[in-house]
């Protein structure tokens, strides 16, 4: 389990670096998917299986479509991968930053350091499920507002992307 978690954490950092180092949108989306998936694994490994499932279904299910479409719109004949000169400099700088930061904070690290503390043992429901339930029972209005925000987002996206000939963001 420890090795798996270490692998996941390394995968998360590498995925983030892969996004942040400005490769072509194809590869950036790939890096984002990798880091999101690995992040779900970390959440599940540390006791947040419900949140992990939600994140996996919604984030990777919904956002992947958006990534696919935006990558298709921003298609280029010679995409810049992580080996390209403009990208590899960023990769190296970010990796060095991660190593330096890791060296500085090495002392505060121990195994099982961020397992969820509350609602861990002797509870019928786990921390993440009961947390979601808490939020919507104490703040029921939040649910209404969230629904309104989703509706608003729909209108915003429709209004921004409406019109076939008026697209400014796409390269066609």
């Amino acid at each position: 389990m420890t090795y798996l978690m270490s692998l996941f954490l390394i995968g998360l950092i590498v995925g983030m670096v892969a996004v942040a180092s400005n490769p072509a949108p194809y590869f950036a989306a790939l890096g984002l998917v990798v880091s999101a998936g690995v992040g779900c694994g970390i959440l599940a490994g540390h006791g947040g299986s419900f949140l992990s499932l939600i994140l996996f279904l919604i984030y990777l299910g919904g956002m992947l479509v958006v990534f696919a479409y935006s990558a298709a719109l921003a298609a280029e004949p010679y995409p810049e991968a992580w080996g390209g000169w403009s990208v590899i400099v960023y990769m190296l700088v970010y990796m060095t930053g991660v190593v330096v930061a890791g060296a500085c904070m090495w002392g505060g690290w121990y195994e099982g350091f961020w397992v969820m503390e509350s609602f861990k043992e002797f509870m019928v429901v786990r921390g993440d499920t009961s947390g979601a339930a808490f939020m919507y029972s104490f703040g029921g209005g939040m649910l209404v507002i969230s629904a309104w925000v989703l509706l608003l987002t729909l209108f915003v996206v429709l209004e921004l992307t409406r019109g076939l000939s008026r697209g400014t963001l796409r390269a066609v």
């Binding site: 939020m135 925000v149 209108f155 915003v156 400014t168």
Partner: protein, 348 residues
């Protein structure tokens, strides 16, 4: 745009700010900020030309970054301190993070680069909303967290903003960019006095809103967005041009006008807090801003011939713009100084 959609967007713009005002919980405040950002995006890209879409994209990216930082800092705070209250956020790391994020949201100096470019891509009315209404929600949060924020951070943000606002505006010929730099400079004045007397921050924000509303609406009335057209805009409405120059001088902070009031009181407060060096520096930085306001005044009004003739009046249609808000805000922007005691008593 469909009027129903406009109704949804404008009411959500109101809802976002109201939610942030009303909340004591970081999650709800963050939701309010996000609703605000989302609702203004289609209004910004209303014309669908590349410049507006570019401005919208830049605005979205910066605001999303700032909101993500706020969410990160507030969850970190909940993790470390075990509570979500806005005005009890006390951990130094999280308060610094949140203050930086809010500075990015309103465009304070080291994080100001998006503001002139975004404002330049918008229409004057949307620009007005962006520089007035969109500042309110972040300011509500800033005032609530202010007592626990690092003092040097606020001083640095404030001084840098006034100077960069002044310097940035010097070489501009586009009026919306000048208004953006003027916004940055005014925000610096508001931040510098945030910890010693938050009332003055509010006062400066309110007077800034009056002055900038008047300026934007007057520019819209004249349909002018750069200095070259400004110099021939007075022929349409010579009296409004005169009032615009008064409003601009009020933004610059000259004594018999409204803009002098917040600057005066802030300098007094800084002196009372034994910060004479800061007070002197910030007073000097106001001169930088005054220079470009004066140049606008010169281009617009100071070269009008004393006896105007009919031949310089251009051919034009009857103006259909409603001028009620313009009239109100111009009166407030030019002649509020005698009411200083009442205004202070109202806010204190």
């Amino acid at each position: 745009m469909n009027p129903y959609v406009i109704m949804i967007l404008i009411s959500s713009l109101g809802l976002g700010t109201t939610l942030t005002f009303a909340s004591s919980h970081w999650l709800l405040a963050w939701m309010g900020l996000e609703i605000n950002t989302l609702a203004i995006l289609p209004l910004m890209a209303q014309q669908h030309h590349p410049r507006a879409v570019e401005a919208t994209t830049k605005y979205f990216l910066t605001q999303a970054t700032a909101a993500a930082m706020i969410l990160f800092a507030s969850t970190t705070n909940a993790w470390i301190m075990g509570q979500w209250d806005i005005n009890q956020m006390s951990h130094p790391i999280t308060t610094t993070l949140v203050m930086t994020a809010l500075a990015l949201k309103i465009g304070l100096a080291p994080m100001h680069f998006w503001l002139p470019e975004v404002l330049q891509g918008l229409e004057l009315t949307t620009g007005l909303i962006l520089s007035t209404w969109q500042k309110l929600a972040p300011f509500a949060l800033i005032i609530q967290i202010a007592p626990n924020v690092n003092h040097s951070l606020l001083m640095t943000l404030g001084l840098l903003s006034t100077f960069i606002g002044g310097w940035g505006g010097l070489n501009q010929t586009q009026l919306r960019k000048i208004m953006a730099y003027s916004s940055i400079a005014h925000l610096g004045w508001m931040i510098i006095v945030l910890q010693t007397m938050p009332t003055l921050t509010l006062l400066a924000l309110i007077t800034y809103i009056f002055m900038t509303t008047s300026t934007f609406l007057m520019l819209k009335l004249n349909q002018t967005t750069k200095i070259t057209t400004l110099s021939s805009a007075w022929t349409k409405t010579p009296l409004a041009a005169t009032l615009l120059s008064l409003t601009l001088l009020s933004l610059g902070g000259l004594p018999p006008l409204t803009g002098f009031m917040p600057k005066w009181l802030i300098l007094q407060e800084l002196t009372k807090q034994h910060l004479p060096l800061t007070a002197t520096i910030i007073a000097i930085s106001a001169l930088l801003s005054l220079y470009f306001y004066l140049r606008l005044c010169y281009a617009m009004t100071l070269t009008i011939s004393p006896s105007t003739n009919n031949s310089s009046a251009p051919w034009r249609l009857k103006n259909t713009q409603s001028t009620l808000l313009l009239a109100t805000s111009t009166v407030l922007a030019t002649s509020l100084l005698p009411l200083t005691p009442t205004t202070l008593a109202m806010l204190l």
